[in-house]
Amino acid sequence: MFYAQLAVNGLVQGLVVGLGALALTLVFGIARFPNAATGDTMTFGAYTALTVHKASGSLALGSIAAVGGAAVLALVAYLTVFKRLAGRSVVSLLVASIGIGFMIRAGLGVAFGHQQQVFNVPLSRPIRIAGLAINPLDLQLATVAVVALAAVFAILYLTPIGRQMRAVADNRDLARVSGIRPERVMTAMWLIAGGVSAVGGMMLGIKTIVSPEVGWEMLLPIFAATILGGIGSPVGAVVAGLVLGVAQEVSTPFVGFTYKIALSFVVLLAVLLVRPRGLFGRIEGVR
């Protein structure tokens, strides 16, 4: 029961990481570079939600604004920077994304200051489900995350644009000769990646605090989950985020709290030794 409680504690953290990893892996799979601005897009989402929540008092409105705002931000970053650099080496794109991350962070710092801010959401006592203490707010956040994930997977697997996105991710050249327009696919992908980041950022902001650095500081676990899940695999990213979050918490009775982060990387290493392509990754031929 004790371990089950630890696992539950890890789930919410895992969902935040999983959402970030999903955004990262979408970009990785389709635009083929690691987008280091993912964390800062999350922060942008958190600040948008916070501002709208303060002004309107509605968390639902805040989350809609956050998803919309971050999606537009991601698209603008694509149109102004990444599109121009398409075809360059991965390193140029990575460095450009680090630069965009810096700009977002600095902009938020100037606009909102570096002092921490919090979502004023009512505090509630946990409810007991089968002996497990579960916080109603966590339950709500988890629901939001699951809905967001369901929406993304529905787009990916049930719509024509999703099919095209997966086709581009599988084989860009083949997709192009089949008449898929990369421009549309890219636009859709960046909008989705931005929106998903915003949900993760908002959850993180509600759970913790909002400051210009919160998203940036999540980047390392997000990268770990992306790699563990298999680069480019949306399902893998989410599952890996949850695995890492739960593994961290369940390990704490054995390794203590200071080493739980290291432990998640041990899990990562162990999986990659046995399965170098990650949990859900596919073996790709050299292009």
Binding site: Q115, S124, P126, K207, F257, K260
Partner: protein, 406 residues
């Protein structure tokens, strides 16, 4: 508009003259001793920084009004650390290399002081700071003995926590520390002092920064059924931990350092969650004559009581005690001045509470400056031992109930 070469040269010459002008003006006061006031005017330290800087200037004015130190006037060059180590290093470089200051006063936050002290060490000039990290007491940071701390060390904060724990009758304390030198310094200082009193610590947890949740950490601490949790923490993690603790519904008291349990924390969490938290911060030497002088200067400069800014009292003392040491050394050669700092600050001399008084008394013999921030006795590490205030958060307000001496 076209610029001819002649116009261009003319403007360059004018610009050069402008740049050179301050040094021409300064040349008249060539014998002034230049001191850097490097305070957190912006950033997290912003609420304190501008008062700190103004008190360095005010104390220097008091020194100059009394005829200067060692026969020379003091000139203050002010810079902002932005409470950011990178910005602080740039500013310190400028103060040392361009302004040729003889000392840097007023750095705040351990990260900033740890970043600046290698520069002052290389320049062979003292750094007087208000930071808590124990690492600032010993080599490598303080290898040359040029660092002087006017704030309590984290270890002393821990001792104050233990005093308050005893006074409040707590029997089963647990600790939670942010995993860095300052956080662990607080709780280890507490544990050491508490065990020396014969008490036991029922549980202790060191946690990592930037976690989305601290529920597992809290589960472990709360499972030991503590009656109080003592933290070495910062405001961000404290906010998350207290919120999650409140949601568990398990009653427990908290003792938290003043930089984490402040009005901002109350604002973030509301009065209900923070009710009864004991916030511990160092307090000024409020009964002292020197404090009255500082208080008057602070009211004049900031329009507020001097008790609002413990760090400004520290910077007031920095300037005063440095000027006294210069006076005692009779030179602005910093090696000689630093050697005199303990002599003018520590006991076994006539007690004085201002520069003017000290300057007079130095003619007769040894002095002991009793400061506005503390009695200002430096130990072998250049650290002082201020008093501590126990502030109880009641109805969303921090009320000081008593002062603890360690």
């Amino acid at each position: 508009m076209k610029t001819t070469r002649r116009e261009f040269l003319g403007s360059v010459a004018a610009g050069a003259a402008l740049v050179a002008a301050p040094s021409i003006v300064r040349a008249q006061g060539a014998d002034a001793i230049r001191i850097g006031a490097l305070c957190p005017v912006t950033g997290v330290g912003g609420p304190y920084g501008s008062g700190m800087q103004k008190m360095i200037v005010a104390a220097a004015e008091a020194v100059n009004a009394a005829g200067g130190a060692g026969g020379r006037k003091i000139e203050i060059v002010a810079e902002d650390t932005q409470t950011n180590p990178q910005a602080a290093v740039l500013a310190a470089k400028k103060l040392i290399e361009v302004n040729k200051v003889q000392a840097i006063l007023g750095t705040w936050s351990s990260g900033v002081s740890l970043a600046v002290i290698p520069l002052t060490n290389d320049a062979g000039i003292p750094l007087m700071h208000c930071s808590g990290a124990p690492a600032l007491s010993v080599p490598p940071a303080n290898a040359k003995g040029l660092g002087f701390r006017f704030q309590a060390t984290n270890d002393r904060f821990g001792r104050a926590f233990a005093e308050i724990c005893e006074k409040e009758g707590f029997k089963r304390p647990a600790t939670m520390a942010f995993n860095n030198a300052s956080g662990i310094g607080n709780t280890e200082g507490f544990t050491k002092a508490w065990k020396a009193k014969g008490g036991e610590v029922v549980e202790s947890v060191v946690y990592e920064p930037n976690q989305a949740s601290y529920r597992s950490e809290l589960m472990k601490v709360l499972a030991a059924n503590p009656d109080v949790i003592v933290t070495g923490s910062y405001i961000a993690d404290t906010t998350i931990i207290l919120r999650e603790w409140f949601q568990t519904g398990q009653p427990v008291k908290w003792i938290i350092p003043g930089w984490a349990a402040n009005p901002q924390l109350v604002e973030a969490l509301g009065a209900e969650v923070t009710e009864g938290i004991i916030s511990v911060d160092s307090v000024s030497n409020e009964g002292a004559e020197a404090f009255k002088a500082y208080d008057a200067a602070y009211q004049k400069a900031m329009g507020q009581a001097g008790t609002n800014n413990v760090y400004a009292a520290m910077t007031w003392d920095m300037m005063t005690v440095l000027a006294l040491a210069i006076e005692a050394a009779g030179t602005s050669d910093m090696a000689a001045v630093v050697a005199k700092l303990r002599e003018v600050g520590n006991p076994d001399g006539k007690q004085v509470s201002s520069f003017a008084e000290g300057k007079e008394a130095l003619k007769a013999g040894k002095i002991n400056y009793e400061g506005a921030s503390s009695v200002l006795d430096f130990d072998q590490h250049g650290d002082v031992t201020p008093d501590f205030g126990a502030y109880f958060i009641e109805g969303g307000k921090l009320n000081r109930r008593y002062v603890v001496k360690i």
